[in-house]
């Protein structure tokens, strides 16, 4: 991760409200750049090809991210177009990380084959097996090495931490910047996609009577 990228990470720390808190450990800017592509991809006729990923790689990443943010009673990573978001990232800001990305995918496939003989690919594993694979790999995660670098993903379990951050961005990034196709991510978390709002905003302010001074308590302390 270069300093340009870490700048964005720190900007997100600011957005979180405090520089001292452990805020975003990811690289915001680069990811949102990729989001633009996901948005374009969403607007365009359904894309049939990827710009960087091979169809097999895209298929595997789709399976992995769909396991992380699954389709339940609401849409998940798959419906949000997360894999297109990742493809774009690997073409742009994270292009230097492509070899490591490929290595990470290879590691997962190898791990899958070793864990479940006869299952050569993550995407071919059953949902339960997929859960087991991700659980095991995440448990091997070295927090020291997973201070999520988008540009150069670490291998194995730390690679998964990287993919997780990509998946979250691709799922939830403001559609004005791409990603979050058809607002499916926002809908899933209950965020109204409107551009402006009027009070009352939620449950607690709807019966608010207006600010009232406490009698005798507003004199100068």
């Amino acid at each position: 991760m270069n300093s340009f990228d870490s700048a964005r990470r720190d900007f997100l720390q600011l957005l979180g409200g405090t520089a001292g808190a452990a805020w975003l450990t990811a690289q915001w800017p680069a990811v949102v750049s990729a989001a633009q592509h996901a948005h374009d991809a969403a607007k365009a006729p359904q894309p049939t090809t990827f710009e960087v990923l091979t169809p097999d790689e895209a298929h595997e990443l789709d399976a992995i991210t769909a396991c992380m943010i699954p389709t339940t009673d609401t849409p998940g990573a798959r419906e949000a177009g997360v894999v297109y978001f990742i493809d774009r990232a690997l073409k742009t800001f994270a292009r230097e990380g492509l070899p490591a990305y490929r290595q990470g995918l290879e590691h997962i496939q190898k791990f899958t084959a070793e864990s479940f003989p006869g299952t050569p690919r993550f995407s071919a594993a059953s949902p339960q097996q997929q859960q087991e694979i991700l659980t095991k790999l995440f448990s091997e995660n070295d927090p020291q090495k997973s201070a999520v670098s988008f540009g150069i993903p670490a291998g194995g379990a730390n690679f998964l931490s990287t993919v997780r951050v990509y998946a979250i961005f691709g799922f939830l990034v403001d559609p004005e910047g791409g990603g979050n196709r058809d607002f499916v991510g926002w809908k899933a978390i209950g965020r109204d996609a409107s551009h402006s709002f009027s009070p009352p905003f939620g449950f607690y302010d709807k019966d608010y009577p207006g600010w009232q001074p406490v009698p005798g308590e507003t004199e100068k302390k």
Partner: protein, 553 residues
């Protein structure tokens, strides 16, 4: 381009060249040009306007549309002067017309009377380089009022019993209360505290050709598309340009203040967008480049005559950096707050502004109820500890919590510590080959201790508010600053300060500094209001000096 424009040649000796168009530079440009002076403002960033501001996060974050570009201007960090600094981003500031006032949250408290004379009241604090201001709250009060009415601040006068005296009410009522404000207000009142509607530099009503807030929720980090946020860009810069005497010149990287053999400033040297070098000549120079870049520019301007840097006979240029201390507690409620709607903050509390000395703590802080997450940042960092990182339960918790989470943010004192500073890195260079900005910083132990105390109170408030889950961000030493305060402090004694009460440098008669660097104490966070009040006051002082012929003489 439809905005009124006057242009000057660099060789034209204008009355003032101002470095920076942010909170302070914008005000000075407006005031001085209105007072009849010819002004050139040199801005490092671009001239963006409301039409350029969208919710497109790719532009804001991927392209650093509004903020300093760290690939061009790298920074380095170390904790103590004994360490070798390493390359990392440690400051963030606005880099566009309007500066950080374009992307800030817009909390707009006044400092209180105690902030100006706390040293006298408290005495020395071990490890702190603590001083009183050469001016009082009363000196600044008319200018606070001017800020509120001229740039546009929403609020309710008299709603906080801790507020300092004021000569006029706010020009507009407060912004709408949010769910977090309601539960915070009820809980703090239950505990015997005194919450009040947040004073915000955001219009609650249309004013001066600008729209009122539409509650879109994209405040912190974003420029306001309807001009409701009272940035310098939306408020004072257009007034400055309308005078026909002020040029805002963008994409100018000022890297040196030139002086003559008599030790007077003659103008500002800058690279334009094509990296050509120019000297903008001026009768007087005003640095409003922020608390990091103002001291850096003075240090970059060292010469045989000023070997330690310009205006640095005290050695105080860049010293006593105060970024404000902070702490954060979070809570999840049973019903939707929907706090993603509206400006981040709607209720504030100042009961802890001056803590009881019996607590063994110095200073104090304010608290606000807020929500400044985006969906992405909440998913990554706003979920309770122990939440699964992925899978159906992760998604379920995220879906439940996004609309039900709120924050209580504690802002507080930073004590001035002489070794906490900005200086020139001896090794790392920027994209132009100039020494990078180096930050040396370690929080005064009191500040961390106080934030632990504040954090505990915030958790109690969340309990009283009925949060069903609550937690806090760990209190830790800071390595990243956005409030860039105190680094060219104001004072009477040229040995222990850089500028006098007129913002004039003690060493160079026609060189003035006005921005966060001028502050002597840090207040309790939220410094922009005070920076702008200082700028209005400085403009009056500088105008009076110029009219008496005391600048050019």
């Amino acid at each position: 381009m439809s905005r009124p424009m006057v242009t000057y040649k660099p060789s034209d000796e204008v009355d003032f060249v101002i470095i920076g168009s942010g909170a302070a530079g914008g005000v000075l440009a407006k005031e001085l040009s209105t007072n009849g002076f010819r002004v050139v403002v040199l801005e490092q960033g671009a001239y963006l306007t409301e039409k350029d501001f969208t919710h497109d996060e790719t532009k804001i974050f991927a392209e650093s549309l509004l903020t300093n570009k760290i690939n061009i201007h790298p920074t380095t960090f170390r904790k103590t002067p004994q360490d070798t600094a390493k390359k990392q981003q440690c400051v963030l500031y606005g880099s566009c017309v309007g500066g950080s006032s374009v992307h800030f949250t817009a909390n707009f408290w006044r400092f209180h009377e105690i902030d100006f004379k706390e040293h006298s009241k408290t005495g020395d604090i071990p490890g702190a380089n603590f001083a009183d201001w050469p001016i009082s709250y009363a000196d600044l009060e008319p200018y606070y009022t001017k800020v509120e009415w001229e740039i546009g601040v929403s609020g309710l006068a008299g709603s906080s019993p801790f507020d300092p005296p004021r000569s006029k009410p706010y020009p507009m009522p407060p912004l709408p209360v949010k769910g977090n404000g309601v539960v915070f207000e009820r809980a703090t009142r239950k505990l015997g505290y005194h919450p009040f509607p947040a004073p915000m530099a955001i219009l609650s009503q249309p004013r001066a050709g600008r729209g009122a807030c539409i509650n879109c929720g994209f405040c912190l980090g974003f420029g306001c598309e309807v001009g409701a946020k009272s940035s310098s860009l939306s408020s004072v810069i257009p007034m400055a340009e309308k005078t026909g005497r002020c040029e805002i010149r963008t994409d100018c990287y000022v890297h040196r203040i030139e002086t003559d053999k008599n030790g007077r400033a003659i103008g500002a040297v800058y690279f334009d967008a094509q990296r050509n070098t120019h000297l903008q000549k001026a009768k007087a120079v005003i640095l409003s480049a922020n608390g990091a870049e103002t001291p850096r520019l003075l240090l970059l301007s060292a010469s045989n005559q000023f070997p330690a840097g310009l205006a640095n006979s005290s050695g105080y240029v860049g010293k006593n950096l105060m970024p404000n201390s902070n702490a954060l507690a979070l809570g999840v409620f049973d019903q939707p707050l929907n706090d993603y709607k509206g400006p981040a903050v709607s209720r504030v509390m100042h009961d802890f502004y001056e803590l009881d000395p019996k607590l063994g703590l110095y200073g104090g802080g304010g608290m606000d109820a807020r929500f400044d997450f985006t969906p992405v940042t909440l998913a990554l960092n706003g979920l309770p500890p122990g939440t699964p990182k992925w899978g159906p339960d992760f998604k379920k918790t995220l879906a439940h919590n996004f609309t039900r989470t709120m924050e209580i943010f504690c802002h507080g004192t930073s004590l001035p510590v002489e070794s906490n500073s900005f200086s020139l890195d001896p090794d790392v260079k920027d994209a132009y080959g100039l020494p990078a900005l180096r930050m040396t910083f370690r929080d005064h132990p009191n500040d961390l201790k106080m934030m632990e105390w504040m954090k505990d109170r915030a958790l109690e408030i969340l309990d009283a508010a009925g949060a069903n889950t609550k937690w806090n961000a760990p209190i830790q030493e800071q390595q990243f600053a956005v409030h860039l305060l105190g680094t060219c402090r104001m004072g009477k004694d040229p040995k222990t300060s850089v500028i006098n009460a007129d913002h004039r440098t003690h060493d160079v008669k026609n060189l003035f500094l006005c921005d966060g660097s001028s502050l002597v104490t840090s207040g309790r966070g939220q410094p922009t209001m005070t920076i702008q009040a200082l700028a209005y006051r400085a403009a009056d002082r500088i105008t009076a000096l110029a009219k008496r012929g005391e600048i050019s003489a």
